[in-house]
Symmetry: none
Subunit: 417 residues, 2 copies
């Protein structure tokens, strides 16, 4: 059985300037791989203390995963310390060096000498390419232990681990039993309500397991099956999913890493429709999300951020009477915003967001009051009122998710009509 220890290297962690989210992320991934994690360690940018941490880890783990300390500066000592400890050389990886040189050439910046250090790798190691930064990761087998070195910034480390680190560990033959998991994504039902509906299934199952997880205004169920035959593990998941769907299938909108927004984009592309938005409280968040994936331009041409009444009236032609009588946070305003945005931008569907993100109430309406309008060509415009809880950020995020959800629902209804 493999036991892992995760060693995060960086004085900024010991000073409390950043939190060790890397240990959490890697722990989750190792759990999926069926590798036990018994210890996390954090150590500063100090070679002696790092060496002592490595020696301690070797007494209690056979998979040791390092994050941090692979960068260009003198502080970055992880590779050097491990090389010395294991008696390995550091050699320049040509592919990594080229990719660093290309990065500098592309950005018209002069590459200083210390950047070459980022291309040094432990001799005999398998390289984990860095698709989001410069320093490559690596995996080395030595004395019966597996050493994996990953960069510190989560934006580099997480995709590197998913893409290259996870398969590298999974391929080691000690992990015979395949672990297969599937995430069901729910919207429109809370975590506690969902659990109540299926508590007997959760309690009765140990393989597959059913694990609810809430976050970001959505609820997911992670189904995980173990079996030496991956096909059998998959059909075990199919069976559990069927039982869950019979009870709460109407709230499932997708699987694994999809999002409401990807689902919406997919439907719009299929039906060759375009969308626009008029955003007040969300301040551009819906449109930013819409354009966060390449290729959105076939369904999204642009939209308006109408953070003030002037812009609602002058740019989006919301009637002065509406703003004065009903207010900006109102059903009528949401309706005009959605319809007028669709007309102004020449889109098939207009979504509007107006409400109170906080911290203060607005027009006498409490924080969390949100109106979302959906104007779809050929159908009556609908406006939904929500009362959302949480921080300003949470309210804005959830409003955008609801906007996608209502738009999706309208598109489906229009197809069924």
């Amino acid at each position: 059985m493999k036991n892992a220890e995760i060693i995060a290297v960086g004085s900024e962690l010991l000073l409390g300037q950043i939190v060790n989210t890397n240990a959490r992320f890697i722990s989750q991934q190792l759990a999926e791989l069926g590798i036990n994690v018994y210890f996390h360690t954090v150590v500063g940018d100090n070679p002696d203390r790092l060496l002592s941490a490595i020696k301690t880890a070797e007494t209690r783990a056979n998979v040791i995963i390092f994050t941090g300390g692979l960068g260009p500066t003198k502080d970055d000592l992880t590779k050097e310390t491990i090389a010395r400890h294991l008696g390995k050389n550091l050699v320049t990886d040509q592919k990594a060096l080229e990719s660093i040189e290309q990065y500098f050439a592309r950005t018209n910046r002069v590459m200083t000498e210390n950047n070459r250090k980022q291309a040094w790798v432990l001799e005999g190691s398998q390289i984990l390419p860095n698709d989001h930064g410069m320093a490559p990761g690596m995996v080395l087998e030595s004395n019966g232990n597996t050493y994996m070195l990953l960069p510190g910034p989560p934006k580099e480390m997480e995709p590197m681990f998913r893409q290259y680190g996870y398969p590298a560990l999974a391929s080691k033959d000690a992990f015979q039993e395949k672990i297969v998991s599937r995430v069901l994504r729910f919207f429109g039902i809370g975590e506690a309500a969902l659990e109540t509906e299926i508590i007997d299934l959760i309690d009765a199952q140990s393989n597959p397991t059913i694990a609810p997880l809430a976050g970001d205004g959505e609820v997911t169920l992670r189904l995980t099956a173990k079996h030496v035959d991956e096909g059998i593990a998959q059909s075990m998941l199919d069976e559990v999913e069927k039982a869950i769907s019979q009870r709460v299938g109407q709230f499932i909108y997708g699987y694994d890493n999809t999002s409401l927004l990807s689902e919406l984009t997919k439907v719009l592309k299929e039906r060759k429709l375009t969308i626009t938005a008029a955003e007040s409280l969300t301040g551009g968040l819906f449109q930013k999300e819409m354009t966060s994936i390449g290729g959105a331009s076939s369904v999204f041409k642009g939209g308006i951020v109408c953070y003030s009444n002037e812009v609602k009236h002058n740019v989006l032609q919301v009637k002065q009477e509406t703003l004065e009588k009903d207010g900006a946070v109102s059903e009528q305003c949401a309706l005009e915003l959605a319809e007028n945005a669709a007309a102004l931008l020449g889109a098939d569907i207009g979504v509007s967001f107006t409400g109170v993100a906080g911290p203060n109430e607005l027009e006498g309406k409490p924080v969390g009051t949100v109106y979302i309008g959906v104007a779809l060509k050929g159908r009556p415009t609908v406006v939904e009122k929500l009362t959302l809880g949480g921080t300003r950020e949470a309210i804005r995020n959830r409003a955008v998710k609801y906007g996608c959800y209502y738009a999706l629902r309208n598109l489906k209804e229009s197809q069924n009509a």
Copy 2:
């Protein structure tokens, strides 16, 4: 000198279900107290492994701070393990027991027997009352070491540490030296280039220390000084900062936890100016960021996301000739977008973003080509061309940071003019 190790106890941390924010919080507090932290350890709810972690910590620290494992269930073993290790008895603390009984009476719940366990404390320890939960914390001196036990939930631990744990440590006369730190924030210079400029300063310094850290397209330098007199420590920082400023001061935009966007918002508020944006490749990200903090409405009224040529022309009046001759990704288009957005939205300053976020090139221009326009009332409009590297997300994030940077620079120049 006192050196601390923080041991967080809880299998949920090793499974990646929660992140160890306690270690971060306590580290920050210990830095203020002038206590060095050289290691963080996370261990599960397992008495043997916890014992081994305690023994390891005793070889390298003389202040050992535990979080977690003080609760009522069978999993909670921190007190029991430490008591056995140090040869101490566990005794019921009457005040803690009364407060637990009162808690159950107040909430009309029946107190189960295992809750009494929460009132057990290490004999001879100083109690740290729990004002936000049931299990008290404690501090014990033994064999020249200080052992502090704190509950796991941050909502209980943080106020307990602030109110009782911090003063208990501060009162120990060994902690005389204060640690003071300051973060300088840079923009427009890479980590390696910055280090090259000041490498002799970094090498020459041990107090204060100078530590570079890169992330999110920005670079920071953390200056940390130790002295018994906090005022002297601060002036040591001033002196190092001055030396750094003489070389690379033009790239410093702020201190500690600020951001380019907060600095921009601050300047706009001071000068009572309003801003708007026309966003193509950034798709609303600038405006979303602008409105992410409450109270932006005095400087930001709204703006346009112009993801297509139709919207650039129809809504923002970019000339058809510009789009046909120069293209949407051009200096001329960025100029018209910035000026026309300011005019359409009635703002004092208009910022435009047009470029190629990827994954594919556009109009024959490579991924990462970005034009940013800044139209400030009473000054000639400026357009900057950038070549950014990285993913789509990184390009968009960095473009927004550059937009803030150029807007800030224009505002400063207009004041100096």
